[in-house]
Symmetry: C2
Subunit: 343 residues, 2 copies
Amino acid sequence: MSQSPTVNRRVVLHSRPLGAPTHENFRLHESAVPSPDDGEVLLRTLWLSLDPYMRTRMNHTASYAPSVALGEPMVGATVSRVVDSKHAQFKAGDLVLAQAGWQDYALAHGASLTALDGIAEPSHALSVLGMTGFTAYWGLLEIGKPQPGETVVVASASGAVGAVVGQIARLKGARVVGIAGDADKCRYVTQALGFDVCLDRRAPDFAAQLAQACPAGIDVYFENVGGAVFDAVQPLLNTGARIPLCGLISQYNADSAPPTPDMLPGFLQMLLFKRIRLQGFIIGDHYASGFDAFQRDMRNWIAGGKVKLQEDIVDGLERAPEAFLGLLAGRNFGKVVVRVAHD
Amino acid sequence: MSQSPTVNRRVVLHSRPLGAPTHENFRLHESAVPSPDDGEVLLRTLWLSLDPYMRTRMNHTASYAPSVALGEPMVGATVSRVVDSKHAQFKAGDLVLAQAGWQDYALAHGASLTALDGIAEPSHALSVLGMTGFTAYWGLLEIGKPQPGETVVVASASGAVGAVVGQIARLKGARVVGIAGDADKCRYVTQALGFDVCLDRRAPDFAAQLAQACPAGIDVYFENVGGAVFDAVQPLLNTGARIPLCGLISQYNADSAPPTPDMLPGFLQMLLFKRIRLQGFIIGDHYASGFDAFQRDMRNWIAGGKVKLQEDIVDGLERAPEAFLGLLAGRNFGKVVVRVAHD
């Protein structure tokens, strides 16, 4: 076994952002590598997942989960290697899925870990076979319920969730219209992922393009953006449309209600008149009931080349803040994972 | 058989309201009683249902159904007596459920009618055994899905839909908090209908009273009002709450978005963080799949004294506009039905 590590680098929350976060909100901090107590395991982070929900944990007010405390490492899912174990189920060398956060090393209770046996691409446990893939699968199939021939519109179509939503919707026989942040992403979404259409949301006539791309209206809108994209979607929603709502990346930096007219009453009236189902969900609620079926289906689809996912790999823990700011600004291309250590 | 009728009184839409409707928007018009063609039936209206959705049909813009044309009778469900029939399934004297609208006589195609065989209280076909009862039943059980011990909040608790929602929720073991428009209605809701609590929405400290009445939060909010009542409900909604949305009576008179801050982005974020299901529905969509089960359950509950409903009976077609304006202003007490003719 290699020499015992001594220094643990951690990216901690240094200050809370007002509006968009900046580099100033993070600090790279060095501390001693801790030792496991009974039942604990010491983990070395190999891959760290970066996801939009992390923005909500930087606020003082809790979202659906507690905020990160100032001076503490940012939270996040990781693929980690067991370095030292005082838990009977794990031994040094095991590969596990953990919530180790933005740091080189972490202690975890053995009960919080999932063994990653025989996974061909370990980083997939953070993306297409993990949280973001399961978000796409559960939200689309349990809330969206696309029927053959229906039109499904997917925001952030080249992103970790949207790319998978659109491919599953195609497998279910739907017509799929993606929305992405530039022409390169749109090309990837149609050519590599097989969406029927993909539109650049920054085009000045985006709303008109969307209407043209959806001549039969929209039956399912998979929402993870909010803001102007949703504004363009609303008039096109069909009677009986379904809106799985798993994120609102465009809104996470807002710190007060916009000073525009109140659109909520009209929005509710639209939901009523069009009999629309809008449902927020947090995928963490659904592992017990749905994760096994997801794993079975998704492994088959990946093996059959039916679902693909581009990873946007960033090397080095110290680059996590930069990559995270880029993710919030839409500068990533695919699922963002940080390679914290080579295996 | 009685002498053939010659004059048909009709309450027609004379002008479209801007904001709250007034008497000026209606006109009582007399025309000749028509004669049925092959396949048609001539109906005499006995009971006319008045319901908030009718406000949306007065607008120029369609809601989920076409607007009433100027000069045409207002739409509405009726219990009617067959006067003359050229349809094989019906004969003079039959009692039927129809959509005859605000008039003494109407022609209808036989296929659009439902025979009312052996109904003890014919007006119940317009309320607890009809559209409003089915709205309560379907929305509460299919979307709200109350579990024993959960807290269900019901707006317009003494109204045609709310009264039934609360009684069914009690039958399912939920704790039920009603909201009504004055102290008399609240007394009726708790004493006669058996809700656990009922609050007067006009109390200056209504929001604080609601918080106190829901110490474990709100699991189901049956929405048919909107506006200030919904504002008070939102902070109390629990994670995983369900909101069946069948009406927005407080909003029907609005003709533009309120000039306040835009509450929609924050509302969507709340739906996401709390994993809330919000679903608009129009009960007309669900007769084929759900009406028989509703009839079976509701007849049992009524026979067993488990569901009651107060009717607010108005005598005379000419009083329909006054009663309808009262309904929109919350001056009714129970389900509003107009007795157009004695049987």
